[in-house]
């Protein structure tokens, strides 16, 4: 096997309390290969978002990384100094956050939210940035002339596509998607995932996909990790997670799905 793109080793994260601590992530290890879509599934509060935050080192007190390593192409992310960290963020790891409605700054034009990334990381001037912004917006089917608009002038699905466009503006190596579609309705959800898949094939980035929706995940991911109470209890290919779940908890998760959904998934897995 070739060297993985992202490698998480024995990651342990606590939330510090007034007297006792809460262990959100407990000794988790997994790899994501180049171009792979890796899924992390589990109930809310199981620690999957905490891992996502740790990859870009976005945590604030009271979160505390107790132990472990995060390596991106062999580079130790937890050892980066503030300057290195700033240039690492977005250029290497981009992120799509849970709420489509709230990921864009409501008081800045869309254009400005592209521009600050492009200027910070690539030193572009306004007109270069505008060109790149137009290019990125076209990729996600947003008319480029709307870059002068404010976020509230777009629908939820459009906003999420804008976020994805911002994510890809620097050609990152991996995009972390933390429940990217939960706030959207089912049709828009599918549309967006398909779009991400196409883009992934074009640009070749990896995806760390986080959701509580195991059904959605099986359709979309190459490999899947199942999390329970901070621990990674099972890790396998998407097909195996669906057809041959090993851990009790994975079986329970499947049992909680309505059978109609399950039947359709069966076809997907078979194909």
């Amino acid at each position: 096997m070739t060297k993985p793109l992202l490698s998480i080793k024995n990651l342990t994260i606590d939330y510090i309390g007034e007297t006792a601590d809460f262990r959100a992530v407990d000794d988790v290890s997994f790899d994501v290969a180049h171009g792979e879509v890796f899924g992390l599934a589990g109930e809310s509060g199981c620690g999957k978002s905490t891992i996502a935050f740790a990859i870009s080192r976005l945590h604030k007190p009271p979160a505390l990384i107790r132990n472990g390593q995060i390596l991106l192409e062999g580079r130790d992310v937890l050892g980066l100094d503030p300057r290195e960290l700033r240039s690492f963020r977005w250029r290497e790891v981009a992120m799509v956050f849970q709420s489509a409605m709230n990921s864009l700054n409501p008081v800045l034009r869309v254009e400005a939210q592209f521009y600050d990334v492009l200027r910070t990381h690539q030193g572009m001037n306004r007109s270069q940035a505008r060109e790149r912004t137009a290019e990125m917006l076209r990729l996600v089917d947003i008319p480029p002339d709307r870059m002068r608009d404010y976020p509230h002038q777009f629908s939820g699905g459009m906003r999420q596509r804008i976020v994805i466009a911002i994510c890809l503006a620097l050609n990152p190596k991996i995009v972390v998607m933390d429940e990217p579609t939960t706030a959207l309705d089912v049709v828009v959800q599918r549309e967006i995932l398909q779009r991400i898949n196409e883009l992934r094939k074009t640009f070749g980035f990896s995806v760390l996909f986080i959701t509580h929706d195991l059904g959605l995940m099986v359709q979309f991911c190459d490999r899947i990790g199942i999390m329970l109470a901070g621990k990674l209890v099972e890790q396998n290919s998407a097909g195996n997670i669906y057809t041959k779940p090993q851990h009790d908890y994975t079986r329970k998760l499947w049992a909680s799905f309505p059978s109609l959904h399950g039947a359709r998934l069966m076809e997907v897995a078979a194909s």
């Binding site: 606590d14 510090i16 309390g17 007034e18 007297t19 080192r57 945590h59 604030k60 007190p61 009271p62 979160a63 505390l64 990384i65 107790r66 132990n67 937890l78």
Partner: protein, 296 residues
């Protein structure tokens, strides 16, 4: 009430605030035992500096400043808590009614609330007090109560709107509970922290405003209060003639009482809004980072 009291006791700001207020209340209650001088009568020579006989000196007309201070505390506290209570009751009632009833009732109450908020408070009070003539502390407390409820009403209304759609209110409505019962027993207990902040804030406001009105010459000269002490000292040009004790005594008294109440207010705010809390968690976190037990 249990958890609220426990969080108050654990909060350093709250404890300091409560101690300050308790001390002032005790001193005010025990005033006649602590001094033999009548606060209103002439008991010494004018403008004597602090001495063994007169701990905080005497005023321009020879009254004992210490005696006036501790007797005046009674007035400040009574006006503060009395007017504060009135302001809070009116604001809370109007806010809950507007928020819960909605519709026309809400429109009318909100319109008046917003109107009262844009008519400047102190100038309005000055006009009212000027026509009343020499306003006693009781009168001041009453006009404060009836003119200053708007902020509380606005905040309570906003909070009521967010509680109104919760399930327990819906179920109480289904069970046919009368509206007044829902407002008093279902909604009000959920607003207790906002009501607490409103109350303490109103007490501070009332104490400050009473002192201000009296300082501006609208008080009753017979009153023994911190505001009248300021007024008399200023009229006697206490600062220019070097009688600093005459004017600084009520100044520091007002400042300390204000600080005590504010500390309590900030503490209640922190307890009601967990995001504002810093406290022990953060210091534990910092200690862990420093000792190398983890990083971010």
């Amino acid at each position: 009430m249990g958890p609220l009291v426990r969080s108050l006791i654990r909060n350093r700001k709250a404890v300091v605030g409560l101690i300050i207020i308790a001390l002032i209340v005790l001193i005010a209650l025990a005033a006649p035992l602590l001094t033999e001088y009548n606060p209103a009568s002439r008991v010494g020579r004018p403008h004597q500096p602090p001495s063994a006989d007169h701990w905080l000196g005497t005023t321009r007309i020879g009254q004992d400043v210490f005696s006036r201070l501790i007797h005046g505390a009674r007035t400040s506290l009574a006006v503060g808590f009395g007017a504060g209570l009135l302001i809070t009751v009116l604001g809370t009632a109007l806010g809950i009614i507007a928020g819960y009833r909605g519709g026309k009732t809400d429109e009318v109450i909100s319109f008046f609330t917003n109107m009262v908020l844009v008519v400047p408070n102190l100038p309005l009070l000055l006009v009212l007090a000027a026509f009343i003539g020499q306003a006693s502390p009781l009168v001041i407390a009453i006009i404060l109560g009836f003119t200053s409820w708007a902020w509380g009403a606005r905040v309570t209304r906003a909070e009521t709107l967010s509680v109104k759609h919760k399930d327990f209110i819906k179920s109480a409505e289904m069970m046919g509970e009368p509206r007044w019962r829902i407002m008093t027993f279902e909604i009000f207990p959920n607003l207790i922290s906002i009501v607490g902040i409103n109350f303490i804030g109103s007490v501070i406001f009332a104490i400050i405003t009473e002192a201000t009105l009296e300082f501006l010459g609208l008080g009753d000269p017979k009153t023994v209060s911190w505001g009248m002490m300021l007024y008399n000292a200023q009229k006697a040009s206490a600062l220019s003639v070097g009688a600093w004790w005459d004017i600084l005594t009520p100044c520091f008294a007002l400042a300390i009482l204000g600080i005590g109440l504010s500390l309590l207010n900030f503490a209640v705010d922190e307890i009601a809004n967990p995001r504002l809390r810093t406290g022990n968690r953060l210091s534990r976190w910092t200690a862990l980072i420093r000792s190398g037990e983890g990083r971010l």
